[in-house]
């Protein structure tokens, strides 16, 4: 495969439990701070309180937080978009003169999260349609495009937990094809009772702070947040004097075609996605400085992913950042791509929070104490329900 032309990352916005923006999240991870807590946004009758990683209200600008006509997911997306555009030096007015696509991943932002409405309906009542109208108004990609008055394609990717990674890969292809001048790509998701109950029912949720890749891991903790990357063609970014923070060098994805919720035991789709992303980037495995792994803390995911990573990248350090953010579902791939860029910039990997004891079933171990890294290429990968696997190869701007 001929390597594809990279997309420049000129701005990044991020809001998650680890921080109100990317610099504060990176700082709190470097200090190994994490603060999972019982759910606040909703009540639950589970006898155990499974911890979650929620975004404090004060992390969201009040003018966005107050937009109760939109889902929380969409408000997160708008907050991250605002940060990303400011970081990229784009004035929203100027952006309206360009052709701008919006490609965002989500899970809750597209689901019928209408519990109160449905409870009343079930009782034979005539529930008002406010909940439905909010849902219809909140499609993340459409809402961001509409709120900013943008003109270009919109796509909300609903590939479960790989959605954010897929959205960035697809956004880069829109640029290459000339479909857009600029793409806002990323993901957003919120905590809600439906998802909380669902993951607990599958018995893949830990009642303690999650422990990705650790021998004693018992599952994931849910999280919420959003990240948005501003993508531009490299020449165009340079022409407007924008700083390029990183490049999207390659993207690959593949389906296990195996099971709705469990990864293929040999990581078939993940291997195929790694191979495609590396080929598209024109990068050899030995050139990869580190991997920001999916690393949810579930027994199956970490075993399969850890084995594949060690098999394909025998010497490459890897980390899971979900110990700081929880699993933010459709936002996870975007948040982790943002972290990957920041780590390439700082040359430092944070400790893999929650990891303490190596699992003999996984041939490699993540960094438990943080690590200085050398190299200018890194990978962020995601696995998802439905057997989806998606991989981004990201490069430093000066590569």
């Amino acid at each position: 495969m001929t390597p594809r032309s990279p997309a420049a990352v000129t701005g990044i916005g991020c809001v998650c439990a680890a921080g109100r923006d990317l610099p504060s999240a990176i700082a709190s991870m470097a200090a190994a701070r994490r603060a999972p807590h019982p759910p606040i946004r909703f009540s639950t009758t589970h006898p155990k309180r499974y911890p979650v990683f929620g975004v404090p209200d004060e992390f969201i600008p009040p003018e966005i937080l107050g937009r109760t006509d939109l889902l929380v997911t969409t408000r997160f997306a708008l907050a991250a978009t605002g940060q990303a555009l400011a970081d990229a030096g784009w004035d929203p007015g100027a952006l309206r003169k360009a052709r701008v696509g919006v490609c965002l991943g989500t899970t809750v932002g597209s689901a019928l999260n209408i519990e109160d409405f449905y409870r009343e309906y079930r009782k034979g009542g005539c529930p008002e349609l406010e909940t439905i109208e909010r849902f219809l108004r909140s499609n993340p990609a459409a809402a961001v495009s509409r709120e900013l008055g943008l003109d270009g394609p919109v796509q909300t990717v609903v590939n479960a937990c790989s959605s954010g990674t897929d959205a960035i890969g697809i956004g880069a292809s829109w640029l290459r094809a000339g479909t857009c001048d600029v793409v806002l790509a990323g993901g957003a998701d919120e905590l809600c009772r439906i998802i909380y109950n669902g993951f607990i029912s599958l018995m893949i949720t830990d009642d303690q702070p999650c422990r990705p890749f650790d021998r004693e891991r018992r599952g994931l903790n849910l999280g919420e947040g959003a990240a948005v990357l501003v993508l531009e063609r490299q020449g165009a970014a340079a022409a407007r004097g924008a700083r390029t923070r990183a490049s999207v060098l390659g993207y690959g994805s593949a389906c296990d075609a195996h099971h709705l919720t469990a990864p293929h035991p040999e990581g078939r789709g993940l291997r195929q996605a790694f191979a495609e992303a590396l080929a598209a980037a024109g990068v050899a495995p030995r050139e990869v400085a580190f991997i920001n792994a999916h690393g949810t803390g579930t027994p199956d995911n970490d075993r399969v992913e850890g084995r594949v990573i060690r098999d394909l990248f025998p010497e490459t350090p890897f980390v899971s950042t979900k110990g700081y953010t929880g699993h933010t579902l459709g936002a996870a791939g975007a948040i982790e791509a943002a972290f990957t860029v920041a780590c390439l910039e700082t040359g430092h990997l944070p400790p893999s929070a929650g990891f303490a004891v190596a699992d003999p079933d996984i041939p490699g171990t993540p960094s438990a104490t943080g690590l200085d890294i050398r190299g200018d290429v890194a990978i962020s990968d995601s696995l998802a329900f439905g057997g989806n696997n998606a991989v981004l190869v990201l490069g430093r701007a000066d590569r």
Binding site: A142, T156, V157, A254
Partner: protein, 357 residues
């Protein structure tokens, strides 16, 4: 987009019937389609001819719809077994809504600890695409998108780019949505009881829409090997109608996404050039978010036959539109699919005859 993308296979299941022949009959006017006020339901019994009954035991309705549409498209393309160079792109407006609500039932009825894991895992929006890939063994890229009325258009955009970039050699791309009681309740609250008169999709002054459901898939490849195809996709363009919108071509047959919703009809009145030849199929498959996938399948059938379809029931439509009679030659330029939303978004897909047909 620079490559021409060939449509090699068509698979449809909707209220009008199942398969390309049923679609041809519907377009020719020999099948009346969504006649009554209710939702014309799609029947997936034909799935038994493709998939082991045991494998379908726990499959929900929307996954069955998606799998049947995909199987029919593969059959129409003469492909027995897709491989890792096959991609899947599934679009849906509301996803597995019935399964999501059934999952809610599980914990509303019996408490949070009794939430059903089986229902939860099938309630995620990409479950139909995952079930499709697992049953058919498709290990290439797999994507699900949800963009309400623009769902199928944005799916076509990405599917054609995958082919253009050489990520895959073929893509199964489609749209699927299901009808259910809660959707019916919302429909009545938003639009009132469906009227007894037929759906009049080109009547911009009356609310005559009725809900629909179904699944429509296309098997796409690059148009480079000289194989026969059912038309090509030349471009997919999306944006905001107030922005730099490309001119709507007046030299093509325009298939409008107008489906009897008065609120959306005004957008078509504003956008369609005077004198344009227009038609619409809202009366055949009903109104649902992913219905543009059916419009694309219909366009492929029309490009094969080279003839215009039977006109929709018409009581009144803008004077500047021309609704061609059945059996007229299609314009040489081909067909444009136009979908516009009340929120000011549009998608325009241009299609033409296949060079090798």
């Amino acid at each position: 987009m620079s490559a021409r993308i060939a449509i090699r296979g068509i698979g449809v299941v909707g209220g009008f019937g199942t398969g390309v022949e049923a679609l041809r009959d519907a377009l020719a006017g020999t099948e009346s389609g969504a006649g009554g006020p209710g939702c014309p339901r799609a029947n997936t019994d034909a799935l038994a001819g493709f998939v082991d009954r045991k494998a379908l035991r726990r499959m929900d309705a929307i996954s069955r719809l998606a799998i049947l549409g995909a199987c029919l498209a593969l059959q129409d393309a003469g492909i027995e077994r897709p491989d890792e160079r096959t991609g899947v792109v599934v679009s849906t407006g509301y996803g597995p809504s019935s399964t999501t609500l059934a999952f809610l039932d599980s914990f509303i009825d019996s408490g949070d600890p009794c939430s059903s894991p089986t229902l939860f895992s099938s309630s995620v929006h990409n479950a139909p695409a995952a079930n499709l890939s697992t049953l058919l063994g498709v290990t290439g890229p797999n994507l699900s998108v949800s963009q309400f009325e623009l769902s199928a258009s944005t799916a076509l955009l990405t599917a054609t780019l995958w082919l253009e970039e050489g990520r895959v050699d073929r893509v199964l791309v489609g749209g699927v949505d299901e009808y259910g009681d809660v959707l019916g309740y919302c429909w009545k609250r938003f639009f009132g009881e469906p009227v007894e008169t037929p759906c009049l999709p080109l009547d911009t002054r009356r609310q005559t829409a009725r809900p629909g459901e179904g699944s429509a898939f296309l098997l796409l490849e690059r148009e480079s090997d000289g194989r026969r195809c059912g038309g090509v996709i030349q471009s997919v363009r999306m944006g905001r109608t107030g922005g730099e919108m490309p001119p709507i071509p007046a030299d093509r047959l325009l298939i409008l996404g107008a489906d009897g919703h008065r609120r959306c009809a005004g957008a078509y009145e504003r956008l369609v050039p005077r004198g344009s030849s227009v038609t619409s199929f809202g009366h055949l498959w009903g109104s649902f978010p992913a219905a543009t996938a059916f419009d694309a399948a219909a366009a492929a059938v029309l490009l094969q036959t080279g003839l215009t379809p039977a006109p929709p029931p018409v009581s009144d439509h803008p004077e500047s539109w021309r609704v061609p009679a059945a059996g007229e030659p299609l314009p040489d330029a081909g067909i444009g699919l136009l979908r516009a939303t009340a929120g000011g978004e549009y998608a325009l897909t241009l299609m033409s005859k296949c060079h090798s047909s």
